[in-house]
């Protein structure tokens, strides 16, 4: 305990704090990029998964298989797989890029189910009305289904992204200079592990807690009919 108190002034220097802030920023950036790109790709995956026709069966199966497989593999294994796979192709890729790709691959698998749940929550009769008026499948999806699926998709999607902030800690293993990596560095420099990792934990908390509260707030707002109408008016401007 005395050791920790003795270390405090050396630990909480401006330099260290700036370093921590930077690495926290990197953590957030990775999460945001990976989850956004993954979310977009997940839409494509879910759309492809619904392609009708017997000829599309292999495509549909591949889409299903992707989700079922990557949801069951630990993130650290995905990270390693992406790392070593990319390294056989090129040596130029930055660790940050590799991390974002790994996050993407993982996020696609998890958000695909969220998106599919949202799409399936829209009454089939809406789709029938559109089909009977000769709407193409794409147009139906974009103009009728997605606007109605949105309030069901966004809250769990945000919750997923926020919880992913914690999972990015694993990319410290391949040397990305994010928050956990800095923590290990500081510990190696001799600072007490209780002090270091306690502080790092607190940093994650500062990122995760407010955002998850925001997510819950959005969920409540999007859930009520009044909320949906104001969401609509925001959308239609």
């Amino acid at each position: 305990m005395e050791r920790i108190i003795e270390q405090l002034p050396r630990f909480f220097t401006l330099d260290n704090m700036v370093l921590l802030a930077q690495s926290a920023g990197l953590t957030l950036a990775m999460t945001a990029m990976g989850c956004l790109i993954g979310f977009g790709l997940a839409f494509v995956l879910v759309y492809l998964r619904q392609t009708p026709g017997l000829w599309a069966l292999p495509l549909r199966l591949v889409c299903i298989a992707y989700v079922e497989i990557f949801r069951r593999i630990p993130f650290i294994v995905v990270i390693y797989l992406v790392l070593f796979f990319i390294q056989t192709v090129t040596t130029d890729a930055s660790l940050f890029t590799i991390a974002v790709i790994a996050i993407c691959i993982y996020a696609v698998a998890y958000t695909a189910d969220i998106i599919r749940g949202g799409i399936e929550s829209v009454a089939q009769t809406q789709v029938e009305a559109a089909t009977a008026m000769n709407f193409s499948r794409l147009r139906t999806m974009v103009t009728v289904v997605l606007p109605q699926a949105w309030p069901v998709i966004v809250p769990p999607a945000i919750a997923f992204a926020v919880s992913f902030i914690k999972d990015t800690a694993l990319v410290s293993q391949i040397g990305v200079f994010e928050l956990t990596f800095r923590g290990k560095e500081l510990n190696n420099q001799g600072f007490s592990a209780l002090l270091v990792f306690g502080t790092i934990a607190f940093c994650y908390f500062l990122m995760s807690f407010p955002l998850s509260m925001l997510g819950q707030y959005l969920e409540k707002r999007l859930g009520t009919p009044r909320g949906q109408r104001s969401a609509r008016s925001i959308r239609n401007g």
Partner: protein
């Protein structure tokens, strides 16, 4: 020449045969009332015509053009000429009343926007909803939504209007406003196939009544004959039960 000719139409849900050879024809401007017990396949006939339920056999001819339901382009042609109004109205919940009516003519038929908008406003005024253009479906009553649905179907300027039990989901006091709208359309000479349980109404507006049971057309006759003196036993049975009050 027949406007619409349905010949030996078959349809199945999974392993169940829902339509077992339905045939009838329709002249331009005719109003056909399609009646029968639940499960007789009346709604399925309408759904098959717009390609929502796949037809397993039979042909449908509109204005001399034969529709091939296994061909996507052919089905699109059928949908182009027939518009359906559903029992549950099925308005697009994320669009305003006006948008619901204008979206298909502008985006699918590619008609000029200003014109479509004008037409839409006229149609909505005709069904008595001129003041609800900016409202959303969840703000309207069932009867109002159904009238919007009718306006939406008419905005497509179809050859034939298909009405699938459009008053069955409505509270009794809202039924009449919808029937009034349909009555007016019938008066204007629009070709319609009307699936309904409102026997008095069908008797009033229909030129021909088709009675279906268990996926087949059992009898076809003008309203007076059908309701007062049906020739087949099944029809007599059905109307006897229904028309006692």
């Amino acid at each position: 020449m027949a406007h619409l000719a349905v010949s030996d139409l078959h349809a199945r849900y999974g392993t169940v045969d829902v339509l077992k050879g339905v045939s009838f024809s329709m002249k331009k401007g005719e109003v056909i009332g399609l009646v029968g017990p639940s499960g007789s396949g009346k709604s399925t006939v309408l759904r098959t015509l717009v390609g929502l339920t796949p037809a397993s056999a039979g042909t449908v001819t509109i204005n001399e053009t034969v529709i091939d339901f296994s061909n996507a382009a052919s089905v699109r042609l059928a949908r182009d000429q027939m518009a359906i109004v559903f029992q549950q109205y099925n308005l697009f919940q994320n669009m305003s009343v006006l948008h619901n009516v204008t979206v298909a003519p502008t985006k699918i038929k590619k008609w000029p926007e200003a014109q479509v908008r004008q037409e839409a406003e006229k149609l909505l005024a005709m069904v008595g909803l001129a003041d609800k253009l900016a409202a959303y479906p969840d703000q309207l009553s069932g009867g109002q939504q159904q009238r919007v649905a009718i306006a939406r179907a008419l905005a497509l300027q179809p050859e034939i209007l298909l009405l699938d039990e459009v008053t069955s989901a409505l509270d009794p006091e809202l039924v009449n406003e919808v029937l009034d709208t349909i009555r007016r359309l019938a008066g204007e000479g629009i070709s319609m196939i009307l699936v309904s349980h409102e026997m008095a109404f069908i008797r009033e507006v229909a030129d021909k009544v088709i009675f279906m049971d268990e996926g087949e057309v059992v009898e076809e006759a003008p309203p007076e004959t059908m309701f007062d003196a049906p020739t087949t036993d099944r029809a007599r049975d059905f109307f006897g039960k229904i028309l006692r009050h």
